[in-house]
Symmetry: C2
């Protein structure tokens, strides 16, 4: 029974049943001369250094939705950091403004997108409770595109996860730089990420010799993990509760795999 009790105590510690206290902080940091405002969260009940997960936001910038994801990851025991790609105070309020802002980063020159992603990763890495050898990045929509681009920069990441992100890139040859394991969650009916883009991405991964996986969710369109996306499939953007839950569970498995010592 002694062994069982030890096992149980270890389990309670691991699952943080003890006394979960979520620490949440807004963090100012810089990329070059630009001030960025990120969002950090971790659970104080976990002790010692632990893996860090960077979270990259949708095209409307670092807002409520992504902050909630950061907190969910913190509850899982990770140090989670919602990076800011756009800059402090830049939080587009309309789809038009968001499209304009996103376009600055995901055009033919992706260097600024990479720099901003790397700046967020550096900020995460230097947190005192982060195990710098165990880092991953996840991203939603625009942020999904961004984590893939971060991987293509050769960033020191164990893995990246894109949730309904755009898969196109002006730099397919850079797939050879990828050190991260790649996992892509894709709405099978997403009109914003059409079959030719999917095929090109798979070919890119193949040629780059990347460790990649891609999950197609039937009946899901763009932005399927965001409850604010409504339920009108004909718009090509809608929430899908099943695909949301399934992709989150699959992500948890993936993180457990890549962070295993």
């Amino acid at each position: 029974m002694k062994t069982h009790l030890g096992f149980i105590m270890a389990l309670l510690t691991l699952t943080g049943v003890a006394e979960a206290k979520l620490v949440k902080k807004t963090v100012d940091y810089r990329q070059g001369v630009t001030v960025l405002e990120g969002y950090l969260a971790y659970d104080d009940a976990f002790k010692g250094k632990r893996p860090g997960v960077l979270v990259l936001h949708e095209w409307n910038g670092l807002g409520t939705y992504v902050k909630h994801r950061v907190e969910q990851l913190a509850r899982l025991g990770y140090v989670a950091f919602g990076a800011d790609i756009y800059g402090k105070g830049i939080r587009p309020a309309t789809p038009e403004a968001a499209a304009r802002e996103a376009a600055k980063y995901r055009g033919a020159d992706r260097s600024l997108l990479r720099e901003r992603g790397l700046a967020g990763l550096d900020e995460l890495r230097k947190q005192p409770n982060v195990d710098a050898g165990r880092l991953a990045a996840i991203g939603y929509c625009f942020g999904g595109t961004a984590v893939l681009e971060l991987a293509r920069s050769g960033a020191d990441l164990k893995g990246v996860v894109s949730f309904h992100g755009g898969l196109d890139t002006p730099n397919p040859a850079d797939a050879r730089n990828i050190r991260a394991k790649v996992l892509v969650f894709h709405g099978a009916d997403d009109p914003h990420v059409p079959p030719p883009q999917v095929a090109a991405f798979q070919e890119e991964m193949r040629k780059g010799g990347v460790d990649w996986q891609m999950v197609f969710y039937g009946g899901a369109v763009h932005s399927f993990t965001n409850p604010d996306s409504g339920n009108d499939l004909s718009k090509g953007v809608a929430y899908n509760e099943k695909a949301d839950r399934r992709s989150w569970e699959a992500m948890k498995l993936f993180l457990a795999e890549i962070f295993r010592k």
Copy 2:
């Protein structure tokens, strides 16, 4: 602490840590006048009725590989039954013989394939420790094709899982009969299940309004879960340890989801 101990005891029971004793049996049963020889396994440490999982074999028939999968499922707490599609004693020993045997079932007329799958399902359902309302079917290669065809027959299944199965069917309209949730694991470089077949399958699922998911494993070819498949990718058939492990873990998540009460 009392709650925690209760939780722990429940956990130990659930995980079958107590005293796992695997019961394994060869079972003769019939479809029409044909005698079939299946393989049943369950863990005696689990009490009461529990979900049942049917396992359909590769083109060489019910052999060591699939029996091992049946035992793995039994250890997870399910009643697992390796059905026999071909008939007692029919276990092709060469690829040529296997191809000939498989061709009898997966041609334009799939009715015998469905009948044999349904006979296996009936045998599983009538086991005294099976919860008849919670059944699933998984299959490998030829068996992957077979579980999809079983789903198309309208069989009362919570879910089906195909591991590197062929996705073609002469009966795409029958997707409307599907009551099972569908999960397909696919080697992204599988030459035996080429992109046009994948596209047709996805379109079939879409039109049928099926709850479907499909996972692509980069670098994996046909038969990626079978350690006997060797490691020569150029043959289009090879073992892939990562894809094997990942697909098994993903299947566990799926079964937990579909069997949740």
